[in-house]
């Protein structure tokens, strides 16, 4: 009998040698005359254990990691195909506390199934949401998404159901569903993991969105920095079409939905939805003024749903299990789960899907295990390059949209980047301005010019040149960027800058006064 061995095909696992491990296992099995089947699954999200090799045993899946190609012979010697003990043995995968304490809803299949195997997808609950949706009126689908409380997981947290309702209510000959897969924020990789680990889930979510709003064409706008996700999605789309999940007659329903993958080209700003639409139309990724909203006049001027990957991938479950099942997770107005991404200087980085309400401290220490360097954690950036830097005093804040807004921060996409005490926060503030200058689309002056002036002003502050005058100038500049920019790029770059200055003034050469600085 052939034993199934799982070796992830996820980018992170491959980046630390999973392909070499898979090849070594195949070769060693052949050498020993042992029958095995290798499944290239998605990642379980325990990145520090990658490459994480799992073996299907009678007791369940047993994990070994991090495995190097050189460990493979000794794994066979230890009878790992029957879950034998070995220095890299981790026991039953599902019992590893990091995983066991999560609430995996959207990522339920990621790391479990063979990403491109549709039978595997169906066997693990796939297509149940779409089948339910095919029996519902568009207004019922939209109502279900609205009732679930699902908000945009890309960062802006706009209620998905309201966006869908707007598009549904627009009378137009052609409507679009656009998936924003331009996951450009540092510290975020949940979209990539989902696309590589469970691509049919995203496709199913997009088809449901199409049924709900009356759209027949979808586009996935994927960043070019994700070559493996690109390959996986293209294969998944071809197979979904062959299986009748896409095309003129979705699952025999008589309803049509076509889907195409389009690649970005290295511009961060194309993660902003209107710049993304411009790019899809074949132009420079320059931000559009709103109104009109994309829901009214989006791609090629037609009503368009633009949602992020995890948002769309959360929809099948909501339709399959009902809005209440999803809404029962979370706190306040933040319903359901968020796939938090632990990154930067942490001992156990990875993906942690939890209901809203978990605190930063739990994520950083209980899951993350504290710093990788062993030094104290000093600052944490939540929500990407436009998110605030938080010091330890804020680590007990529960992660929900409103609690974070109350401390001048944002949950955003759920990316969490930790820094130890060797970090120079003035350098990070300068980098935030530099990044904005580099990636600004150039349409509005506060962002285009303000970011360049911001780098110069920070340099003068750090150098001690007319410091109080330049601090006042930075304040004023940030105020202009916040209120005068057309989109979040210029509008939120002041967040990392001013939070760094507020919480870590000594890094700028400023002696902290007895009271708090007036900047907030």
């Amino acid at each position: 009998m052939s034993t199934t061995v799982y070796v992830p095909c996820d980018t992170s696992a491959r980046s630390v040698g999973a392909d070499r491990v898979a090849a070594a296992i195949t070769a060693e099995a052949a050498r020993r005359g042992v029958a095995i089947t290798i499944v290239r699954n998605g990642s379980r999200g325990m990145a520090w254990l990658e490459p994480l090799v799992e073996v299907a045993t009678l007791a369940g899946r047993v994990a070994y990691g991090p495995v190097r190609a050189g460990d493979v012979a000794s794994l066979f010697d230890s009878d790992f195909l029957r879950g034998g003990s070995h220095p890299l043995a981790l026991g039953l995968t599902d019992r590893i506390p990091y995983l066991a304490r999560q609430e995996r809803l959207t990522f339920a299949r990621v790391g479990i199934t063979d990403p491109l195997n549709l039978d595997d997808y169906r066997a693990h609950g796939g297509l149940a949401g779409l089948r339910a949706a095919l029996g519902m009126a568009p207004t019922e689908i939209v109502a279900s998404v609205t009732d679930s409380g699902l908000r945009g997981r890309g960062g802006a947290a706009f209620p998905a159901g309201i966006k869908w309702r707007t598009v549904l209510d627009c009378a137009a000959p052609l409507k679009y569903v656009v998936c924003n897969a331009d996951e450009g924020d540092s510290g975020t990789f949940s979209d990539r993991m989902l696309m590589e680990g469970d691509p049919y889930c995203l496709i199913e979510g997009m088809v449901i969105a199409g049924l709900a709003v009356g759209a027949t064409q979808g586009y996935i706008y994927l960043r070019s920095e994700y070559p493996h996700a690109c390959t996986t999605l293209n294969l998944a789309i071809v197979q979904a079409r062959a299986a009748g999940l896409l095309g003129a007659n979705v699952l025999g329903s008589g309803r049509a939905f076509e889907l195409e993958l389009r690649l970005g080209a290295g511009a961060y700003i194309c993660g902003e939805e209107t710049a993304l639409l411009e790019s899809l139309e074949g132009r420079r990724g320059v931000v559009r003024a709103k109104p009109p909203l994309p829901a009214h006049a989006g791609l090629f001027g037609q009503p368009t749903v633009v949602n992020n990957v995890v948002t769309l991938a959360s929809v099948p479950l909501i339709l399959a299990r009902g809005a209440a099942h999803y809404r029962d997770y979370g706190m306040g107005r933040s319903r359901g789960t968020l796939a938090f991404q632990l990154a930067g200087n942490l001992r156990r980085p990875g993906l942690v899907e939890k209901a809203f309400g978990v605190t930063l401290r739990e994520l950083l220490y209980d899951y993350g295990g504290g710093s990788a360097s062993g030094r104290p954690l000093r600052a944490v950036q939540v929500g990407g390059p436009l998110g605030a830097y938080l010091p330890e005093q804020h680590f007990d804040t529960p992660l929900d949209y409103e609690s974070f807004a109350a401390i001048g921060a944002m949950v955003g996409h759920g990316g969490i980047v930790a820094f130890d005490d060797s970090v120079d926060m003035a350098a990070m503030a300068r980098y935030a301005m530099e990044f904005c200058a580099l990636e600004s689309c150039g349409k509005c002056t506060p962002c285009r010019i303000g970011s360049t002036r911001g780098v110069e002003v920070i340099d003068r502050i750090v150098a001690g040149t007319e410091r109080s005058r330049n601090l006042a100038l930075l304040d004023e500049l940030c105020d202009t960027m916040r209120h005068g920019s057309l989109c979040a790029m210029g509008g939120m770059t002041p967040e990392p800058v001013l939070s760094a200055l507020t919480h870590f003034p000594q890094d700028f050469g400023i002696t902290p006064p007895a009271g708090a600085r007036k900047l907030t």
Binding site: S12, E183, F189, G264, S279, G344, N345, E439
Partner: protein
């Protein structure tokens, strides 16, 4: 403006024929041209403009907006080192400096032996295995100085002594 070879002209014509009908075709066309030719020669711009019913200025504007598109040939390999926050938190700046020093180039330049073009990149989505880099289409994680040296040695063959 260097003239295209007959083979290159044929490749571009094929790409335009298969893509020109698609809505918003310009980015897919530019991706396809770069995938075939390795870069986007300026002499392709008028061909693309004509086929897509755009002005040359529009094509040039798009070409110059997106960092991914190259208007000059790259070295035999492209090495992108992530400069974003998560990789910075794990010592990415040391790798940047080391790669520049070893290759004797700054960002966007190609080493004298033509082996490697060095570029910055802002996030590869491999933040849980920081610091990360991309070598052509492979992502490499948990990169330290020794791993970087090993990669560069391989890329440069015997032209650089280890």
């Amino acid at each position: 403006m260097t003239a295209l070879s007959a083979e290159q002209t044929h490749a571009v014509a094929q790409i335009l024929e298969s893509h020109a009908h698609a809505p918003g075709a310009l980015l897919p066309v530019l991706h396809a041209v770069q995938a075939r030719l390795g870069w986007i020669p300026p002499s392709t711009v008028p061909l693309i403009a004509t086929a897509l019913n755009l002005s040359r200025a529009e094509v040039h504007g798009v070409l110059s907006f997106y960092p991914h598109f190259r208007t000059a040939p790259a070295g035999r390999h492209v090495l992108q080192i992530c400069r974003a926050e998560s990789c910075q938190a794990m010592g990415g700046a040391v790798l940047e400096a080391r790669a520049r020093a070893r290759l004797g180039v700054d960002w966007h330049q190609t080493s004298a032996d033509g082996a490697v073009t060095l570029e910055p990149v802002y996030c590869l989505g491999n933040c849980a295995c920081s610091p990360a880099l991309r070598l052509d289409d492979e992502i490499v994680g948990r990169v330290d100085a020794a791993r970087l040296d090993e990669l560069l040695d391989t890329l440069q063959g015997n032209e650089v002594s280890a």
